[in-house]
């Protein structure tokens, strides 16, 4: 068995729980291990002439590498779980492999930070399909894992698309009169809100919304979406929490705590550090400037801890503001939109 990984996983567990360890030390050690064991990553480092011995920085692997290459140290016979990126493009999805140990760490990571932003004791109504219907969704897996009690899933997976079962959702709401946590993707909230008459969730209920639209519903700005949720579900804005996550990471960021109000800023937990870097030279941008979001996530133990997202973000002292995906086509120039 893999004692190196087992050993570092145990120490990352401790670090997550605040029982000691240093971020830099663990990151360096994990980088060395991943350099040795994740072949496509090692080759990238070699091409850049970076080795764990002499490097002060950990090269971030782009999320698109998860589409074309197997970014994992797990042997093919030890990959019981794989999470796929969502999206409606024709390209291959990203794949992030897990085994029992890496999943345990994943669960620890997501519950810890979720608990600090939402209320794990509340009953959860999830607008995603249940993991059994969406086995490759890291979001469905997460919603299944974070609450103390079994969530009610009212999303359905139909030919790769997710829809919300409005009747089932309304039935749950009729039967359940205690405060709940309602969680789902931005487009599932649009589906729900467009399909119902205004109602009021029990006071104290909160909403966790995540992800973009990917063409699956009409697209609203964050403010418009929150206003829609408030008007249709009676949840005040301060009880709406945005989550930022992706299948290539094992930790998530939240932009506020339920009930807190005030300025929204995304923050990862202490075991995942962000850098907002200039797309020009890769250096960290000054406060207030826009760059590409990179995350060093200690919970990404069997893939690669340093991940470069496709998202643009504004760097702030107390977190970051998400601007969203970099557009994949050039709009200013004379170019063709080839299918």
């Amino acid at each position: 068995m893999d004692t190196h990984f087992r050993n570092i996983i145990a120490r990352i567990f401790e670090y997550i729980r605040g029982e000691g360890g240093s971020f830099d030390g663990l990151a360096k050690e994990l980088f060395a291990l991943q350099y040795e064991r994740v072949e496509p990553y090692r080759r990238l480092c070699d091409l850049r002439h970076i080795t764990p011995k002499d490097s002060r920085t950990i090269p971030a692997i782009p999320t698109n590498a998860f589409q074309e290459f197997e970014i994992t140290s797990l042997p093919p016979d030890d990959r019981p779980n794989v999470f796929h990126s969502s999206g409606t493009t024709s390209s291959e999805p990203s794949r992030h492999y897990h085994n029992a140990e890496s999943l345990a760490l994943y669960e620890e990571s997501l519950s810890h930070w979720f608990n600090q932003h939402l209320q794990p004791k509340q009953r959860m109504l999830a607008l995603t399909p249940p993991p059994i219907q969406a086995p490759h969704s890291s979001l469905a897996y997460m919603l299944q894992s974070v609450q103390f009690s079994e969530p009610c899933f009212t999303g359905k997976a139909k030919n790769d698309a997710w829809i919300v079962d409005i009747d089932e959702t309304l039935q749950f709401l009729r039967e359940n009169r205690t405060p709940i946590t309602l969680a789902g993707t931005a487009f599932s909230f649009v589906h729900l809100c467009d399909g119902i008459e205004p109602l009021k969730l029990p006071s104290g209920s909160s909403v966790m919304e995540t992800g973009g639209y990917k063409g699956r519903s009409r697209e609203l700005s964050k403010t418009q979406l929150h206003a829609l949720i408030t008007s249709k579900l009676g949840v005040p804005p301060e009880n709406i929490v945005c989550e930022y996550g992706m299948c290539e990471l094992s930790s998530q960021a939240y932009d506020t705590r339920a009930g807190q109000g005030g300025t929204r800023r995304f923050r990862f937990p202490h075991w995942a550090r962000t850098r907002i870097v200039s797309p020009e030279d890769g250096s960290e941008v000054p406060l207030g400037a826009t760059g590409v979001l990179e995350v060093i996530d200690l919970a990404n133990v069997r893939s690669v801890l340093a991940v470069r997202s496709c998202d643009l973000a504004v760097r702030h002292e107390d977190g970051f503001e998400l601007l969203g995906r970099t557009p994949l086509t050039e709009s200013r120039g004379c170019s063709l939109n080839l299918a």
């Binding site: 496509p40 080759r43 200039s278 797309p279 050039e330 200013r332 120039g333």
Partner: protein, 456 residues
């Protein structure tokens, strides 16, 4: 900063808070039509040519206030570096002379006087015929945002054929057209009186309806969906000249791939990639290198990378918004991962910036670049292979930059013409077509006019 006072002469001069309404637009369109009847109608083509040639000459002069202002304020308004802008202006205006304008008129009409009076060419004289050409009363130009030159060229064409013109600039793309319009007004206020410009976001149907109702010719540059949407809204009798987006590539035959010639061609190829930061339809996305020359495709890619690096020192690429730069760095990372892991791809890139990128790979066919000096180099057996594998962009290629021996060139051009390419030129000239260029293979001026034949 240059001091330049613009009189409030065109709609585009209105302060941003002033909202253009359909009534104002209709009145402006009718006014320029009235002005055309009153002023332009009586001017001879020779006079028009003189005014345009003098104006173009002024635009090449560093002391000309409009040029000065463009060079000072252009980089931040248009996103090109000073050097790229200067070179672009020099190339564009440098080719506009009295001689080239007369050549253009002769090419299009057989006789450059035909816009003034009935005239004939020898073949017509044999049949005792004459003919004259008349430009549309009002042309509406719906311009694209990517490059200023095509817009300026449309305006010059309209002046030559004596039409009133309305130029609808894409949002944020009116900087240079506006300056050019003011320079026309200053050069000859009667010309200026037949010109109107405004800037609005595409899809303002209530404004566009006014334009479509008043103009008898509409030109438009844009995506195919945009063009067909416009076509549907035009009255039956309105003449519509549309230009869909096009892309371009280069081809170098193996006989040109000696060390000396290849290196020279790489320098010229870098000129084409750098011109207007690759934003035009005429900018190359891919260079195909025929295999079995002394220098191979991979070596050529290296030479092109060196040339682009050199170019960056003398003629830097413009600053990009973070999203565009992020797009380039994301694409680079895709290629970098492949280079590291599959070994059949190589990547050259500017250090600590996204200024230029060269990818050599073994993919087949055509790949559209993300632009801003990002170019692919591929090795192919011959031109047949290029055309076979680039079927997806057939009829969407504007220009092919060609380097081949004189002996082969004519056959290659024949092949390209039948495949649907509308312009072939030397590498290094891709972004600099002559004034007589037939855009998308159609007559430059002949397309606008209506003929009146006179059988005597």
């Amino acid at each position: 900063m240059a001091e330049l006072e613009f009189p409030n002469y065109f709609l585009i001069d209105l302060p941003p808070e002033a909202r253009l309404d359909p009534g104002m637009l209709r009145e402006a369109l009718r006014q320029i039509k009235r002005n055309r009847r009153q002023y332009i109608h009586e001017m001879s083509t020779d006079d028009v040519v003189k005014v345009i040639a003098r104006l173009a000459n002024n635009w090449c002069d560093d002391l000309f206030p409009f040029r000065k202002f463009t060079l000072e304020e252009g980089p931040k308004n248009m996103g090109f570096s000073l050097e790229t802008l200067r070179k672009g202006l020099d190339q564009f205006f440098g080719r506009i002379t009295e001689e080239s304008l007369h050549n253009l008129l002769s090419q299009e009409f057989g006789d450059s006087q035909r816009l003034d009076r009935p005239a004939s060419i020898p073949e017509e004289r044999l049949e005792n015929r004459m003919a004259m050409a008349v430009g549309p009363e009002l042309i509406g130009h719906i311009t694209a945002g990517n490059l200023p030159c095509p817009t300026l060229m449309c305006m010059i064409h309209g002046l030559l054929i004596g039409s009133a013109q309305f130029v609808k600039c894409a949002q944020g793309a009116g900087f240079l057209p506006r300056l050019f319009a003011h320079s026309i007004y200053e050069a000859h206020n009667k010309f200026g009186a037949c010109l109107e410009l405004a800037e609005w976001e595409g899809g303002e149907a209530h404004l566009e309806d006014q334009l479509f109702a008043e103009a008898n010719c509409i030109t438009a540059v844009g995506r195919n969906e945009t063009l067909s949407a416009i076509r549907k809204r035009l009255p039956e009798e309105t003449h519509f000249l549309s230009h869909g987006h096009r892309v371009s590539f280069g081809f170098i035959s193996k006989d040109m791939m000696t060390r000396a010639i290849a290196s020279e061609q790489a320098t010229l190829a870098a000129d084409d990639v750098a011109a207007w930061d690759q934003h035009g339809c005429l900018s190359p996305h891919v260079f195909y290198i025929q295999a079995e020359g002394i220098v191979g495709g991979e070596q050529f890619a290296q030479m092109l990378a060196d040339a682009l690096d050199q170019k960056e020192r003398n003629e830097p690429r413009g600053n990009l918004p973070a999203s565009t730069a992020a797009n380039i760095s994301e694409l680079r990372s895709v290629h970098e991962m492949r280079a590291a892991n599959t070994g059949d791809i190589r990547l050259w890139q500017s250090e600590d910036s996204t200024a230029w990128t060269v990818v050599f790979d073994h993919e087949q066919g055509f790949t559209t670049s993300c632009l801003n000096r990002f170019v692919y180099v591929r090795e192919v057996a011959d031109l047949d292979e290029v055309l076979r594998t680039a079927e997806m962009v057939r009829n969407q290629i504007s220009t092919v930059g060609l380097a081949a021996t004189k002996l082969d060139a004519s056959d290659l051009v024949h092949q390209l013409a039948h495949w649907g390419v509308t312009r072939v030129c030397p590498i290094g000239k891709m972004q600099n077509p002559p004034l007589t260029w037939r855009h998308d293979g159609r007559p430059a001026l002949g397309n606008y006019v209506r003929w009146t034949d006179w059988e005597m």
